[in-house]
């Protein structure tokens, strides 16, 4: 029964932290769900209302929380199926058709498991750590759009916020590993912190380059700039951004501790790393935040490089986009865009699983030298290259859009 307040407090903290920055920096014009309300209900005031902003953010928090739970249920099943089929096995087949309900059964099993706190552990930190890890992952979802208008809070520092707040999760991991009072946990913790802090650098440089090209850090505006044909996506904008998108995908694998960078929880070396001592619902929180982080990095990749909610075919993207289009067309367009964005992100999650079951784990020194000697110099060169490209090729292509495929139009 101890699990229920744990879950509630996790949800509460996440809701509060996710909306606090958004409300504090709330601008004169509404954004996100409030703008959606404005678009559908014409009597709603144009400058927005404070209760509308709070209600929109509460709804957004609950919706994101529900989405993450559903996504984790699906992704755990998908992971087991992908691994099974790659190894010529069937995977879970018993509960439901092709085992789709297996994760629900596993989840129930996890919640009723005995909740063990080691006698020599630092009890308070041990209990707080999973909440901080989950909160640290969950608050990063605030500026991540799930479709046009469907965003918890359209911060004008969106990408920077995602990069900055990620460090809270590292602290939660340190707290978990330290309070467990177990040497494997501590080794796992030190590895995790090293890895996540190091790989934040290439990710940050990739974000900076996207911001230089887009001229903004807001996730919504970045997606807006990739409208039109799919060669307007930032990944096809210039060769440097194409390289950076690959660097981002590699670094994001390390950022969410996925294989081949799963040193922090290397089963054959460290039992299971920083969460060795955790059982039951507390372990489930770590597990949930791992899968949430997988979706997060994929969603950010889609927003920053792969066109966000745009399919890249203007006929489809324009459905319901005109300001005078009917409410029905608008909602249909909204649903299409949400499906496109989530579909792309889930596709990238599949790539992560594919990589996990294909490549062996790297060594610790290989992991560090890959980051600092390979990814970092290349990404810095790409930052300069991309800025120069925008400076010179922009005038050459004579237009607002200067993709490297501008000659196609």
């Amino acid at each position: 029964m101890a699990s229920i307040p744990l879950f509630l407090s996790a949800a509460f903290h996440s809701c509060w932290l996710a909306q606090a920055p958004a409300l504090e920096t709330s601008k004169s014009s509404p954004n996100g769900l409030e703008a959606l309300l404005q678009r559908l209900v014409h009597s709603y005031p144009a400058e927005g209302t404070w209760w509308g902003a709070i209600a929109a953010m509460l709804i957004a928090c609950l919706a994101v929380f529900a989405f993450l739970n559903l996504f984790a249920l699906f992704a755990v099943w998908l992971e087991r199926k992908v691994s099974a089929h790659m190894q010529c096995r069937l995977g879970p087949m018993e509960v439901g058709p092709h085992g789709v309900l297996q994760t629900i059964a596993d989840g129930i099993k996890l919640t009723v498991k005995e909740d063990i706190i080691p006698r020599v552990a630092d009890k308070v930190l041990f209990i707080v750590a999973p909440i901080i890890v989950f909160t640290g992952t969950f608050i990063r979802f605030a500026p991540l759009p799930f479709g046009d208008y469907l965003v918890a809070s359209d911060l004008n520092l969106g990408l920077f916020y995602i990069a900055a707040v990620g460090s809270v999760e590292v602290l939660g991991v340190i707290m978990a590993g330290w309070s467990s009072n177990n040497k494997w946990s501590l080794f796992g913790t030190i590895r995790t912190a090293t890895q996540m802090v190091s790989y934040e650098i290439p990710i940050g440089i990739a974000f900076v380059t996207v911001a230089v090209s887009a001229g903004t850090l807001s996730t919504m505006q970045i997606v807006e700039q990739q409208s039109g044909w799919f060669w307007h996506w930032f990944v096809f904008r210039n060769p440097f951004l194409m390289v950076l998108s690959i660097i981002y995908l590699i670094a994001s694998l390390a950022e969410c501790k996925r294989s081949p960078f799963d040193l922090p929880e290397a089963e054959s070396e460290l039992v299971s790393g920083f969460h060795t001592e955790y059982t039951g619902i507390r372990f489930a929180l770590f597990f949930l935040s791992e899968y949430a982080a997988m979706y997060l990095v994929s969603g950010v990749a889609v927003v920053a490089f792969f066109g966000g909610w745009y399919l890249g075919i203007p006929v489809i993207d324009r459905i319901g986009a005109a300001p005078d289009s009917s409410a029905l067309a608008f909602v249909i367009g909204l649903l299409i865009k949400a499906h496109v964005l989530i579909g792309k992100a889930v596709g990238l999650v599949f790539v992560q699983m594919w990589v996990r079951w294909t490549l062996p784990r790297v060594r610790l020194d290989q992991m560090m030298s890959l980051c600092l000697k390979v990814l970092l110099p290349i990404s810095l060169a790409c930052l300069v290259g991309s800025a120069l490209w925008d400076l010179f090729m922009g005038s050459l292509a004579s237009g607002k859009e200067y993709s490297m495929f501008f000659w196609l139009e």
Binding site: W50, D122, F160, S167, I174
Partner: protein
């Protein structure tokens, strides 16, 4: 008072208490790691206060630099050098109470003096995004301090690498 006004007040006091109250935790905690995590709470409170004042970029920089950088570095140092079963050295007796009170009064009066002499300009809450303004000022008006700071940091980085590398080489030659 309008609803948003009450909301602003609530948020301010929430962040203010969050920024100041963990100070007691830092002072009273027996374990250095616990102190670090009290500091985390305090830093988050300060970030919230910056956001409350409309300095969104500064608030997130606070999170990135202090929580993501300095606090993690601090914990790294503790973890690599410190054992959990050894508590902080406890000061017994009342020997430090009197000097502590004097130091506290002096510090508080100095701070109060500075605070009372400062001309507080209640600027209108910034509603526009601050990051582009900060960026263009750093790249134009404050370009020289910016470059000097980056040189200083580079020197520190090279120095740290040199010291770490020298120790490693010495250890190897002794073997």
């Amino acid at each position: 008072m309008t609803g948003s006004g009450i909301f602003n007040q609530v948020m301010f006091w929430l962040f203010a208490v969050m920024a100041v109250a963990p100070g007691f935790g830092i002072l009273l905690a027996k374990d250095i790691v616990r102190q670090a995590f009290w500091l985390l709470l305090s830093l988050v409170g300060f970030a919230g206060l910056y956001l409350h004042l409309g300095a969104d970029f500064l608030g997130f920089i606070q999170v990135l630099v202090y929580i993501g950088g300095i606090l993690i570095l601090f914990l790294f140092g503790v973890m690599l050098t410190y054992r959990m079963d050894v508590p902080l050295k406890e000061v017994k007796g009342w020997g430090l109470v009197f000097p502590g009170i004097i130091a506290g009064i002096l510090t508080a009066s100095a701070l109060l003096y500075v605070a009372s002499r400062t001309p507080w300009n209640a600027a209108a809450k910034a509603t526009a995004p601050t990051v582009s303004a900060v960026g263009s000022r750093v790249m134009s008006t404050f370009i020289l301090p910016f470059e000097v700071i980056s040189m200083v940091l580079l020197v520190a980085l090279i120095g740290a690498t040199y010291i770490a590398r020298r120790k490693e080489d010495k250890g190897r030659s002794e073997e």
